[in-house]
C-alpha cells in the first residue's frame, strides 16, 4: 500500500479526514470503537464455540449415542450468553457511532452558521446562494457519512485479523486460501460501489433536471395552454425522463451482475473449502467440527465485507464535502460597512460619495447631497441607474466606494422592493428578535395598511410561507413596511416598496407614514408619479449627473430628461384630460 505514491497519498488524506472528524467528539467515537471490538471478539468466539459444539457435543452424541444433559445445557448457555454479549456490543457500537456522527454534523452546521451570520451581505452577494445552501446541507451530511460505518469497518478488520490467525493456525493451507478471498471480496465491493454509484449519480442528476423542467413546465402552464403546446411539453419532459430511466437501467444491470458475483464468490469458496477440508480430514489434520467452524467463520465475514466496500466508497464524497465546509469556515470575515458610517447631527448628509460594486465602474461618482430632518424625499431615475444601490449604501448593506455618509443615529431601516419574509409568524417577522408590545405592532400594521393581518386565522401569530398562509406581493410588502415602521426609525429607506400595491392603498400608506412618523427622514425610490407628488424634494438620477434633492417643480425646469420622464408617466392622463375636456366642451 505504501509503495504506491497515489494510494499512500489517498491513505494519508483519508486518515486526516477521519482524525479531523473524530476530534469533534472523541469520547463518543471511542465508546463506539470499544463496542465494535467486543462485537468482533464475540463473533470470532462464536465460531470457536460452534466448532466445540460440533466436535465435542454433536458428533460425540451421535457417535456414542449418549445424551449428556449437562453438556447440552452448557452448549446452549454458552450459545445464548455469547449472543447476548455480542448483541450488547452491537448496540453500543451502533448507537454511539450514530451519536458521534450526528453530533459532529451538528458541530459542522454550527460552524457554517457562525460564518453566515458574521459575513455581511456583500460577501454573500459574491457567493452563489445555491452553493452556500449546498455547503450547509448536503456537504455536512456527506462529511459525516463516513463516520457511521467506520467502527463497523474497524471491527471487521479486527475480526479478519483474529479469524485469519485462527484459520491459518488451524490449518495453514486452507487458512491462507480462505484469507486470500477477503481482499478479493473487498476489491469487488469497492469496484461495485464506485461503478454503480456513477450511474446512480447520473440518474440523480437527471432526476434533478427533470424536476426543474417539470416545475417550470407546470409553472408556465398558462403559456403552454395559450399556445396549445401540451403535447410538445409532454414530449420534452419525456426525453428527460427517459434519461433518468436509462441511467437507472444501467445501474440495475451492473447491480444485478455484481450482486450475483458477490453471492457466487463466497459460495464457491465454501465449496472449495469442503473439498480441501475433505483432504485435510482424511490426513487427520482437521476435525469435522473444525471444518464446519471454518466455513461458518468464513460465511460470517462475507456480509460485513460488503459494508467495508460501502464505507470505502463513501470516503471521496466525505472528503469533498468536508473540504468545502473547511474552505467556507476559513474564508476571511469581510468588514461590516455599517461600522464605517458616522453618526452626528439631525440631517442625513452625503459628501463626495461614489457608489457601486466595482471601484472602476462606479454607478455614481463623487456626489454630495443633504436630506433635511423630518423630510419626505423621492428618488427618480431609469432602471439600473443606482437608486437601489444608494439606499443600500446609506443603510450600510453595501460599503461606499468613496466618500462618507453622516447619519443622525444608527436607527435606520431599509425596506426592499421584494421583501424577504421568514417562514415564521407575522409577529416574529416584525420583531426580528426584539420585543414590541401588541399595541405597537397593531399600530405599525395599521400605518402600513396591513389590516388584513388581523383577519388571518391566528391574527398576528399566523405562520406565513411554506407551512403557513400564502401572501400576495402587496401583502408581503406591507408586512415588511410594518416591520420597519414599528421601529420608528430616524431614517426610513423605501426601495420601491409600494410597487405591488394598488394606487389608492399606496397613497394611504405613504400619507400614514408621513403623519405617524413625522420625525423620520423618508427617502423613497419612486416608480409612480403619485409618490413624486407627495415628496418635498426629489432627487433625479440622470444619465451622467444627479439633480437635487430639490422640489419637483424646480427639477422640471432644471432637467430636460426629468421633464421627458414625467411626460412619459403622465401621457395616458394628458390624453384623457383632453378627451374629458372635449366631451365637456
Amino acid at each position: 500500500m505504501h509503495g504506491h505514491p497515489t494510494s499512500s497519498g489517498r491513505f494519508r488524506r483519508a486518515t486526516t479526514l477521519i482524525r479531523s472528524l473524530v476530534a469533534y467528539h472523541p469520547v463518543l467515537f471511542t465508546v463506539s470503537m470499544v463496542g465494535a471490538a467486543v462485537f468482533a471478539v464475540c463473533t470470532v468466539a462464536s465460531s470457536w464455540l460452534l466448532r466445540w459444539i460440533i466436535d465435542e457435543v454433536i458428533v460425540r452424541r451421535f457417535d456414542d449415542d449418549e445424551f449428556s444433559l449437562s453438556q447440552t445445557l452448557t452448549a446452549v448457555a454458552l450459545l445464548m450468553g455469547l449472543s447476548l454479549i455480542r448483541a450488547c456490543g452491537v448496540i453500543v457500537r451502533r448507537s454511539f457511532a450514530g451519536r458521534a456522527q450526528w453530533r459532529t454534523a451538528q458541530s459542522l452546521t454550527d460552524g457554517v452558521v457562525d460564518v453566515l451570520v458574521q459575513q455581511p451581505p456583500q460577501w454573500q452577494r459574491e457567493q452563489s446562494t445555491g452553493d452556500l445552501i449546498t455547503r450547509a446541507g448536503v456537504d455536512v451530511d456527506a462529511s459525516v457519512a463516513v463516520m457511521a460505518p467506520l467502527p463497523y469497518a474497524s471491527s471487521v478488520i479486527l475480526m479478519m485479523v483474529i479469524a485469519a490467525y485462527g484459520l491459518i493456525s488451524n490449518d495453514i493451507a486452507l487458512g491462507i486460501a480462505a484469507t486470500a478471498v477477503f481482499p478479493l471480496l473487498i476489491a469487488l465491493n469497492v469496484l461495485y460501489q464506485r461503478r454503480v454509484d456513477r450511474w446512480f449519480d447520473i440518474a440523480q442528476g437527471e432526476l434533478g433536471s427533470l424536476s426543474a423542467a417539470v416545475h417550470e413546465s407546470f409553472e408556465g402552464v398558462t403559456v403552454v395552454k395559450a399556445f396549445g403546446a401540451e403535447n410538445r411539453e409532454t414530449e420534452r419532459l419525456a426525453v428527460i425522463a427517459s434519461r433518468v430511466q436509462s441511467a437507472r437501467i444501467e445501474a440495475i444491470k451492473l447491480r444485478s451482475l455484481f450482486e450475483a458475483a458477490l453471492d457466487f464468490v463466497p459460495n464457491l469458496t465454501n465449496i472449495c473449502l469442503i473439498i480441501g477440508g475433505a483432504f485435510r480430514v482424511r490426513s487427520g489434520d482437521l476435525t469435522v467440527g473444525e471444518l464446519a467452524s471454518f466455513i461458518y467463520m468464513f460465511t460470517l465475514l462475507v456480509f460485513p465485507l460488503r459494508l467495508i466496500g460501502y464505507a470505502l466508497s463513501e470516503m471521496p464524497r466525505s472528503q469533498a464535502g468536508f473540504g468545502r465546509i473547511q474552505q467556507l469556515r476559513q474564508s476571511p470575515i469581510v468588514a461590516d460597512p455599517r461600522k464605517m458610517s458616522h453618526h452626528a447631527g439631525q440631517s442625513l448628509v452625503i459628501s463626495s460619495l461614489s457608489i457601486g460594486h466595482d471601484i472602476d465602474h462606479p454607478l455614481t461618482h463623487n456626489f454630495s447631497a443633504s436630506f433635511a430632518p423630518s423630510s419626505f424625499n423621492a428618488i427618480v431615475g431609469y432602471t439600473g441607474c443606482g437608486k437601489s444601490t444608494l439606499l443600500q449604501t446609506i443603510a450600510g448593506t453595501i460599503p461606499p466606494l468613496q466618500g462618507s455618509i453622516l447619519i443622525p443615529d444608527s436607527s435606520i431601516c431599509l425596506v426592499f422592493q421584494e421583501p424577504f419574509l421568514f417562514g415564521t409568524s407575522v409577529r416574529d417577522n416584525m420583531c426580528m428578535g426584539l420585543n414590541f408590545s401588541d399595541i405597537d405592532l397593531s399600530w405599525a400594521l395599521k400605518v402600513a395598511e396591513a389590516d388584513f393581518v388581523f383577519q388571518l386565522p391566528q391574527g398576528i401569530d399566523t405562520l406565513i410561507g411554506e407551512r403557513g398562509v400564502g401572501l400576495s406581493g402587496g401583502q408581503r410588502q406591507r408586512i415588511a413596511l410594518a416591520r420597519a415602521i414599528v421601529r420608528r426609525p430616524r431614517v426610513l429607506l423605501l426601495d420601491d416598496t409600494t410597487s405591488a400595491l394598488d394606487p389608492n392603498t399606496e397613497i394611504s400608506v405613504l400619507n400614514n407614514i408621513r403623519t405617524e412618523l413625522s420625525d423620520t427622514i423618508v427617502i423613497a425610490v419612486a416608480s409612480r408619479p403619485s409618490l413624486i407628488g407627495m415628496a418635498e424634494t426629489v432627487m433625479f438620477f440622470d444619465v451622467d449627473e444627479i439633480h437635487g434633492p430639490t422640489s419637483h417643480v424646480e427639477l422640471l425646469i432644471q432637467s430636460d430628461q426629468y421633464r421627458l420622464l414625467m411626460q412619459a408617466y403622465e401621457k395616458p392622463e394628458s390624453a384623457s384630460d383632453d378627451q374629458v375636456e372635449g366631451v365637456q366642451g
Partner: protein, 602 residues
C-alpha cells in the same frame, strides 16, 4: 390490518391497470428468482451430505476412510448448480429492475400529459408543488420500492420458501420448532421498525427544518443584516441543528436494537435446534451432518425475515405514493376536447357571449385575487376588430371572463361562440391559432429569447423572429439586447425586468398572428421607458384584430373602443370611455380616484 392490505391490493391492481407493462413477464421473473435463491442453500446441503456420506468415517475415528472422490463429485455438482443459480438470479434482478423502470417511465409520461391537460383551476400556486412531487418524488418512491423492496420480496420470499422446504425435508419437527420460535421475531421487528420509521420521520422533519432555516439565513441575509438579527436567527438554526442531532441520535439508538433482536432470536432458535436435536439423537433418523446443516439453515432462515419486515414500511410508502398518483390521474382533464369538432373559416370572427355564469370549485387557501370570482349571466357581442377593455375591482370577475373566453375553463352556465361556432366545438389546435392569451405575469422559460419566442411557433426562422420585433416597433429594444436572439433570460425571465418580459410575451403572441388577442394586464408597475414601448407595441399588435384587455390600468380603458365594467361578476356598464366617464356610475368613480393618484401635483 386486513383492511389496509385489501386497500394496498386494490391500489396495486389499479396501478397495474394504469400501467399494464408493470406485470408483464412477472411469472418468468419469479421462476428465475426461485432458482436463483435455491443457490443459497447449496452450501449447507453440501456440507450435510459431505459430513454424512464423505466424511462420516472420520467421525468414527478412522480418518483413512474419508471418501474424497465422493466429496469432489458432490462439490463439482454443487459448483455447477451455483453457476446456474447465479445466472438465474442475475437475470431475475435485471428483469425486475428493467421492467419496473420502463413501466415507471410510461407512468411518468402519462402523468405529464394528464397534468398538462388539467384545467387551470387545478394548477393554482398552492397545488403546483404537489403536482411536481407526484411526477418526481412519488414516482421515485415506486422506483425505490421496485429496486429494493420489490427485489427483497422476490429474492427473500423465494429464499424463505426454499429454506423452509429443505428444513421440513430434513426434519419436520426441528423445522416447526425453528418456525415457531422465529414467529415472534416478526412481531418484535415490526414493533421496533414502526418506532424506527417514526424516529426517522422525526429526524427527516428536523433535518428539513435545519435546511429551511439555513436557506432563510442565506436568502434573507440582507434583511437580517439590515435588522441586525443575524445572531438571533443563527441561534435558531443552531437550535434546530441540535434538535436534528437529538432526533437522529434517537433514531440510531432504535436502529441499533434492530439487528441484535434478530441475533438473539437466532441464538434462541439454534439453541433449541441443538438441544432438541441432541436430546432426540439418531433414533429419530437425525444424523450429525443433518444437525450441523440444520444449524446453518436456521441462520439462513432468519436473514430474510429481518429484510422482509424492513421493506414492509417501504411498501406502505410506495402504496401511498401510488395512491396519490392514481388520485391525480383520476382528476378529470380540463375543458374536454370536442368529440365532433367544427372547423371555423378564417375571416372576420365575432365573439358572442351568452348568459355566461361561472363559479369556482371551493378550495382551501385560495389566493386573494381568486376569491369569489363568480360571473352572473353575462351577455354581449364583440364584433371583429374591436378593442375592448374589461375593467372592475379586484374580484369583480374580469380575470375569470378572460379565462373563459380563452377556454381555459368552461362556464358553469351559458356559452361563448366565435364566428358562430361554440367555443367548445373548436379543436384545441385550431382555437390556439385563432385566439392567443398573454397572461398577467407572462411566463418565460429559463432559456434564450429565441427559444421563448419559438415556443409559440417552433418552425419560425431567426429572420421571422427578428421581423416580429420590428412589426411591433421594438427593433431598437431588440438591438439593445446583449446577445440578440441568443440572450439568456434567466429563471422565469429574471434577467429581464417585468416590463421587458411583457414585451417578449407580446412578440411571442404576435408570431401566431391570431384573430383574437386576450391581454391580461400586469398589476405591477413598469418603469416609464418600458411603459412607452409597451403601449406602442400594444397599439401595433392590436391593429386588424379583436383585442380584449383585462385592464388594471384605466389608461388602457381610455384607449379602447369599448369598455365593459364588471362589478361582483355582473356586467354593469358597457360603452366607450367618453360615454361612461360622464355618466354617474362605477366607471366614473373609478376613473376619478385613479386620475387623482396619477398626478404629481396635488
Amino acid at each position: 390490518m386486513t383492511i389496509s392490505t385489501g386497500g394496498a391490493l386494490t391500489t396495486l391492481n389499479k396501478g397495474v391497470r394504469a400501467v399494464p407493462s408493470l406485470s408483464q413477464g412477472i411469472g418468468l421473473t419469479i421462476f428465475l428468482a426461485l432458482i436463483g435463491s435455491s443457490g443459497r442453500v447449496v452450501v449447507p446441503v453440501a456440507i450435510q451430505i459431505a459430513i454424512d456420506h464423505g466424511l462420516q468415517r472420520a467421525t468414527s475415528g478412522n480418518s483413512q476412510d474419508v471418501d474424497v472422490a465422493l466429496v469432489i463429485k458432490l462439490c463439482i455438482g454443487a459448483a455447477i448448480y451455483l453457476v446456474i443459480a447465479g445466472v438465474a438470479q442475475r437475470t431475475a434482478v435485471s428483469r425486475l429492475g428493467q421492467r419496473s423502470e420502463s413501466a415507471l417511465y410510461e407512468l411518468r409520461v402519462q402523468l405529464f400529459q394528464h397534468i398538462h391537460l388539467l384545467s387551470l383551476e387545478d394548477h393554482n400556486d398552492e397545488q403546483r408543488g404537489s403536482l411536481v412531487s407526484r411526477v418526481t418524488s412519488d414516482v421515485e418512491t415506486l422506483s425505490q420500492f421496485f429496486s429494493w423492496g420489490g427485489l427483497a420480496y422476490l429474492l427473500n420470499g423465494a429464499l424463505m420458501i426454499i429454506v423452509s422446504g429443505v428444513m421440513l425435508a430434513y426434519d419436520w419437527l426441528l423445522a416447526l420448532v425453528v418456525i415457531f420460535i422465529s414467529a415472534p421475531l416478526v412481531y418484535v421487528l415490526r414493533r421496533v421498525q414502526s418506532r424506527l420509521v417514526a424516529a426517522y420521520d422525526a429526524s427527516r422533519l428536523a433535518n428539513s427544518q435545519v435546511l429551511g432555516s439555513t436557506a432563510e439565513l442565506i436568502t434573507g441575509g440582507e434583511t437580517l443584516h439590515a435588522y441586525s438579527a443575524g445572531q438571533i436567527f443563527g441561534e435558531r438554526v443552531k437550535q434546530s441543528a441540535k434538535s436534528r442531532g437529538d432526533a437522529q441520535t434517537k433514531a440510531t439508538l432504535i436502529g441499533a436494537l434492530l439487528f441484535p433482536s434478530g441475533e438473539i432470536f437466532g441464538a434462541f432458535s439454534v439453541s433449541a435446534v441443538v438441544f432438541i436435536g441432541l436430546w432426540r439423537g439418531a433414533e429419530s433418523g437425525l444424523s450429525a451432518g443433518a444437525l450441523v446443516g440444520f444449524i446453518f439453515l436456521t441462520y439462513r432462515f432468519l436473514e430474510p425475515i429481518a429484510e422482509l419486515t424492513e421493506v414492509l414500511d417501504q411498501t406502505q410508502t410506495a402504496v401511498s405514493g401510488m395512491r396519490r398518483i392514481l388520485g391525480i390521474l383520476a382528476i378529470p382533464v380540463g375543458p374536454p376536447a370536442p368529440q365532433y369538432p367544427i372547423s371555423i373559416d378564417k375571416g372576420p370572427l365575432d365573439i358572442r357571449v351568452e348568459n355566461l355564469s361561472f363559479s369556482y370549485r371551493p378550495r382551501d387557501g385560495e389566493s386573494e385575487s381568486d376569491q369569489h370570482n363568480v360571473l352572473h349571466g353575462l351577455t354581449c357581442t364583440i364584433p371583429f376588430g374591436t378593442q375592448v377593455a374589461v375593467v372592475g375591482e379586484t374580484g369583480s370577475g374580469k380575470t375569470t371572463l378572460g379565462r373563459l373566453l380563452a377556454r381555459f375553463s368552461d362556464p358553469s352556465v351559458g356559452g361563448i361562440s366565435i364566428g358562430g361556432v361554440p367555443i367548445n366545438r373548436i379543436a384545441n389546435e385550431q382555437l390556439r391559432k385563432i385566439l392567443v392569451v398573454v397572461p398577467q405575469e407572462p411566463f418565460l422559460f429559463s432559456d434564450t429569447v429565441a427559444a421563448n419566442l419559438r415556443f409559440a411557433l417552433p418552425a419560425a426562422t431567426d429572420q421571422d423572429l427578428i421581423n416580429a420585433f420590428s412589426h411591433v416597433d421594438l427593433q431598437d429594444w431588440f438591438e439593445a439586447l446583449p446577445n440578440g436572439l441568443e440572450t439568456v433570460v434567466g429563471q422565469r425571465g429574471a434577467q429581464l425586468s417585468a416590463g421587458e418580459r411583457q414585451l417578449i410575451a407580446l412578440v411571442r403572441a404576435s408570431l401566431i398572428n391570431p384573430d383574437i388577442l386576450i391581454l391580461d394586464e400586469a398589476t405591477s408597475s413598469v418603469d416609464a421607458s418600458t411603459e412607452v414601448r409597451l403601449t406602442r407595441a400594444l397599439d401595433k399588435i392590436s391593429q386588424g384584430r379583436t383585442t380584449i384587455s383585462i385592464a388594471h390600468r384605466l389608461s388602457t380603458a381610455v384607449r379602447a373602443d369599448r369598455v365593459l365594467v364588471l362589478d361582483s361578476g355582473v356586467l354593469v356598464q358597457d360603452g366607450s370611455h367618453q360615454e361612461l366617464v360622464t355618466r354617474p356610475g362605477i366607471y366614473a368613480a373609478m376613473f376619478k380616484s385613479w386620475e387623482a393618484s396619477h398626478h404629481t401635483s396635488e
